[in-house]
């Protein structure tokens, strides 16, 4: 077992555990914390997949910005914790679980077909996933999508400001 495999396996276990806890916990804050853990684990998985830039961005953007925003909003709203763990009664919950199992089974059947079809990793060079290589691809082949993503973020920002703005009295 190489170091990479140990790292990846550990991160995978952490990721699954934290994901389960996200769903299981009643308190939104604790859920959010476990989600941060999950994101960190996924960042490590990215590292094992050769995406060092991606891992850094995952930490910077997801953990550093998006989840902080979540926590910030949770604190701002500070809702009282809800009593029930799940929204529906036992029957619907059970049925949903059954559906989930069926969904998972279908997915895994598709995934397993990969194992036969040469599910090996290609060998890649030193620069694979480096900031420079990702950046070069991003600013050449994916330039338009990149610009569009920028516009999307701008629109989202404006939208968020408009939505969250408290209306002054007498303003329509």
């Amino acid at each position: 077992m190489s170091l990479d495999t140990i790292l990846a396996s550990g991160a995978s276990i952490a990721a699954i555990f934290s994901a389960l806890m996200v769903v299981w916990q009643r308190s939104a804050v604790i859920s959010a914390l476990f989600l941060v853990l999950n994101l960190g684990s996924v960042a490590i998985l990215f590292l094992t997949l050769g995406g060092e830039f991606l891992a850094a961005v995952q930490v910077l953007v997801y953990a550093g910005a998006i989840m902080v925003l979540f926590l910030f909003v949770i604190m701002l709203l500070n809702p009282a914790p809800l009593k029930e763990r799940f929204a529906s009664g036992p029957v619907v919950t059970g049925l949903t679980f059954a559906l989930g199992v069926l969904f998972f089974a279908s997915l895994m059947r598709g995934v397993m077909s990969l194992a036969g079809a040469g599910g090996t990793m290609a060998s890649v060079g030193e620069s694979y996933g480096s900031t420079r290589s990702v950046g070069e691809l991003l600013f050449t082949a994916y330039l338009y999508p990149f610009e569009l993503a920028g516009v999307l973020l701008l629109v989202a920002m404006v939208g968020a400001v408009v939505l969250a703005r408290r209306q002054a009295p007498g303003e329509d």
Binding site: V23, S31, G51, F70, V73, M121, Y128
Partner: protein, 99 residues
């Protein structure tokens, strides 16, 4: 780890996320479950990118993150607006769009 492991992990995370969306009562948790699903997809994308030896998958991950950021900003703003109106984050009580 071989490709199948990564993809399986991705599937597991995705299903957990789906379950979270379907079962949870708190809108914020539901929203976090959606992030979970997006992450699961990101793992699969990065794994396939590595499998093919190209970087396009990683670029997609990058875009997914951008979209997630936009989504989080707008989504949370909507939650704030709803919370001001209903004083709750319980999704079963938010049904203004009912006929």
């Amino acid at each position: 780890m071989p490709l199948v492991s990564y993809i399986s992990l991705s599937a597991v995370l995705f299903v957990i996320g789906v379950m979270g969306v379907l079962l949870k009562r708190n809108v914020l948790t539901i929203f976090m479950s959606i992030e979970l699903m997006l992450n699961a997809v990101n793992v699969a994308l990065a794994a396939f990118a590595r499998h093919h030896g190209g970087l396009d998958g990683q670029i997609f991950v990058f875009f997914v993150m951008a979209v997630a950021a936009a989504e989080a900003a707008v989504g949370l703003a909507i939650f704030i607006a709803i919370f001001r109106l209903k004083q709750t984050t319980d999704v079963t009580e938010i049904n203004l769009m009912r006929w």
